[in-house]
């Protein structure tokens, strides 16, 4: 484990972006390999269904795991009514995700979330608000959430977001390339976006809820990684179905397969619908069991979530005080 990995997610450290792992450079498109992906839905669902009862963490372990979850949150606001003021409030929460007395009580006084995730227009406000914290700003920058604006404009949007200080770019893939089986187009598009990202890290949103089958999730995951995605991400949060444990299992296995072929470690970001502390623990356990402890760090794992943090705060207060908590005892994000 690297030093960075040790400290990632705390204010005193470099923050999530200081990857010591070599960045995924992508590979030439090997579409035979991509298409050979298999995903038996029933078996995957059975595994996912039993996981929460197979893995249970209690007491100190639960508190520590929840803190780890916090360190991996991309605290997100992606609404039409976002304003700089709203974003500043979110950033304040990102930099101090819990009441200081609770952070002190669990011995992690400098805990931060993994990143703040906003629309392009909100990037300057977020960058400004997070100055000096090492919490990076992530932008959704490719005609989010549908990804159907002109391609050159989508690339332009990436470049603008990077120029304005976003260190992570969450891009959406063109679902139609998956649905029409134009895998080469999917590869080319994603590869071009990755180039547009430059030094910023790219999370490729597959919008799994719109891909139809788990097999296609596996195929799209493989193509996105070959095209150089630093992370693969489930959802925009706007699809009818967002992150699920079965989809997670498929994507984690794709990451493992890709790693075995290329040696590159690709990150994973489930997004949308993860709002309970208990669910977060299941995701962490699944990542731990499928990929190993190395992935339980913000450089390789993020939750895309907005209300998860609130539930975790209440659980932490319960751990510290022994009493069930209330939402109004914690600062709004």
């Amino acid at each position: 484990m690297t030093d960075t990995a040790h400290h990632a997610g705390t204010r005193s450290a470099e923050g999530a972006l200081a990857l010591h792992e070599p960045r995924n450079e992508g590979t030439a498109p090997d579409l035979d390999w991509a298409l050979d992906a298999r995903a038996n839905q029933s078996a995957i669902e059975r595994r996912a269904a039993t996981l929460p009862s197979r893995r249970s963490v209690k007491k100190e372990w639960q508190a520590a795991w929840l803190a780890r979850a916090v360190s991996c949150i991309d605290l997100t606001t992606l609404s039409g009514d976002d304003t700089p003021g709203r974003v500043r409030r979110l950033c304040a929460k990102a930099a101090r995700p819990m009441r200081q007395d609770l952070l002190d009580a669990i011995g992690l006084p400098d805990l931060t979330v993994g990143a703040v995730c906003v629309y392009h227009e909100m990037v300057p406000a977020a960058v400004e608000a997070l100055r000096g914290t090492n919490v990076p700003v992530a932008a959704v920058s490719t005609g989010f959430p549908a990804g159907l604006s002109p391609f050159d404009l989508r690339l332009k949007e990436i470049e603008r977001s990077v120029a304005e200080g976003a260190r992570e770019i969450d891009v959406v893939i063109s679902r139609r390339h998956v649905l029409t089986r134009d895998w080469q187009a999917l590869y080319d598009e994603t590869r071009t976006m990755r180039e547009a990202c430059g030094e910023a890290h790219m999370k490729a949103i597959l919008a799994t809820g719109e891909l139809g089958t788990l097999r296609d999730v596996a195929r799209a995951s493989r193509v996105a990684m070959m095209a150089g995605a630093d992370f693969i991400k489930t959802s925009t949060g706007k699809e009818a179905v967002n992150a699920t444990l079965p989809v997670t299992l498929v994507m984690l296995r794709a990451i493992r397969d890709y790693g075995e072929r290329t040696g590159f470690k690709v990150g994973y970001k489930p997004a949308g619908g993860i709002s309970k502390a208990k669910d977060a623990l299941s995701y962490l356990a699944l990542v731990k069991d499928e990929l190993g402890d190395r992935w339980l760090r913000p450089d390789l794992f993020r939750f895309g979530a907005s209300s998860l943090l609130g539930d975790i705060e209440r659980q932490i207060e319960h751990f510290v005080t022994g009493r069930y908590s209330a939402a109004h005892r914690h600062a709004m994000g």
Partner: protein, 775 residues
Amino acid sequence: MNEIASIFESMEYGPAPEAAQPATDWLEGHGRRFGHFVDGAWTKPGETFETAAPRDGEVLAEVTQGTDGDVAGAVKAARRAQKGWVALGPEGRARHLYALARGLQKHARRFAVLESLDNGKPFREASGIDLPLAVRHFYHHAGHARLMPEMVPGRTPLGVCGQVIPWNFPLLMLAWKVAPALAMGNTIVLKPAEWTPLTALAFCDLALEAGLPKGVLNVVTGDGATGAALVAAEVDKVAFTGSTEVGRRIREATAGTGKRLTLELGGKSPYIVFDDADLDSAVEGLVDAIWFNGGQVCCAGSRLLVQEGIAGAFHARLRDRMASLRVGDPLDKAMDVGAMIHPDHLAAVRAAVAAAPAHAEVHQGEAPEGCFFPPTLVTGLQPADRLMQEEVFGPVLVSSTFRTPAEAVAMANDSRYGLAASVWSENVNLALGVAPKLRTGIVWVNGTNMLDAAAPFGGVKESGFGREGGTEGLLAYTKDAAERPKLARVAPATGGGGPADPLDRTHKMLIGGRQARPDGGQSRPVFGRGGGHLGTVSLANRKDVRNAVEAAGAAKGWSATSGHLRAQILWYLAENLAAQAGRFADRIDAMAGKGGAQEVEDAVSALTAAASWADKFDGAAKGVPIRGLALALREPVGTIGILAPDDAPLLGLVAPIAAALAMGNRVVAVASQAMPLAGTDLIQVIETSDVPAGALNLLTGDHAELAPHLAGHMDLGACWGFSPGLDAVVEREAARDLKRTVVTNGRGRDWTGSMRWLLEAATEVKTVWVPYGEG
């Protein structure tokens, strides 16, 4: 460093203990000392033995060693209670079963913790799998009780059932035994396993609380001697789940007693992975196949067969997965594998792995000190290796490779066992093509260890017989309500002199499509009732039996034919027999003195009935709670040996043959001993009716001499002894390979009635689970 900050870095799993209190409170309530549960009350503890928790050796309680007298008393109580239990009727019994289901739910925590403590299985499994399945079994069978007259029309309870259950799923196996027996109006004496008696005893408290009438359920604890006493007691039925070795002894002990018997025994179930499978899911499936309950599962997928080209990659993924399995305290909620049942068993498993051959590679995960054994993978084995053949009953996966689907099937079937199999392939053609070829009672496609009350469960070959679950399971706890006629013993007619026509006719036998002379070169004269010499028949010996079974074994094509084709041939047989009705009637009249015309008519009718059934004795799709199908397929049991009765020399031969053939079995039949000429005359009819060579073989001879060779032949799937006085020898000889038997129980048969019972005996249900869905 603060502990939380340290865990924040290490991200280890911590302890997640489940409190033992709900179980220990109950144990304390009984002073941790138990008698038997008989006639609705606890008996005073007698000579006791200790039952301990495998996880740490802690003594949990003392239970009583059941004596012969204890067993007899319990059986008596069950006998007394049975009439009243039947009198409650379907609705009344259904309510009681419903109350038991609800009661289990109400005390779910107590039962789950107690099971985990006494057995060593992870609490997660006890509470997430054993309990829900047990509850479901009672619910499902409350329904069967309610619907009994419609579900199994014309059937009545057997009476008192003696049930002996194993230690691997103590409560679930109790549910599998108790629910159907009670639903069908039987009463019970149950003996839980010596190592795991506690949940059965807790269930007795539940029965009291739920108001189950006294004597309906009795539980006697003890060791194997108590079990043997129960098998020997005045019970009408013995149901056993456990090792093949003990099952065989029970078959021998009950031979000829008229007791019904069902056996659910061991296995070495193949787990076949084709190269087009979802390999990650197949790896995960193995976690549920061989590391579920520490591999101490009769249907555990313990024999991994991987397609050669992917074996290396598959084993590598499997070893990676083994590294993240957690073995330890069963009461810890984040454990994958708990404790082994007992230090003695642990030693046996350890010895089996230690005996792995030099060419094998043994890979093991980690396990703590104590009664634990690490997840183990043994690769590089060949079918000739003992580890590939014998049941280990522990977390030990053995592996070999195959090249083609046909070779996978051949290797899968290369076993004395036949309980379950898993097939992994994303190709529906491949998976569903392989499933019917596997000689097992259960096939899981892209899955493993799927169980449900609605789906019949049970094995073939030395994995036992009888089904538990579904309507099929109800048959094992009921009998035909119709009174059977007394079995008539018919002595061969005596006489003397030569034949009326000096032109010799030699009545040969039919073996492999040819008329064959007896190997021993012996024959005997057959006389008519008037004393006249009717002809000479061959006396077959054991070598003729051997030849006939071999011929039947070679006629594999018959079992692969369609029901439609078999129907056509049976119709043709009927047609050709009818064409010679007069000759057959005269022959029967000559041998039996009367009744020839009617019997020929009935025999033709049996053939048309069998022909009609050939494509209509359907399986079923079961209502299991998964997205997918659980298909109960009727499969032929194999080659059936038949000892034909004497009371109806033609009909009694033709009806079972016809039923057996209709279902796709091959047949080796021995014609009536007293009146064999009806059988030998039939050979000509058979030869002119397009019956493929070897599908039907017909011998004549002395039944008492042939019975042990026929019933003992290990390439027969079943032996039907309709000849009087041979029940014991047939059942005892059949014990060797646990083939299915039908015997007389001292009663004759109404051969003119429905042949459904014969069709049931001629088939075995295979349950094929096909979970499906994409998108």
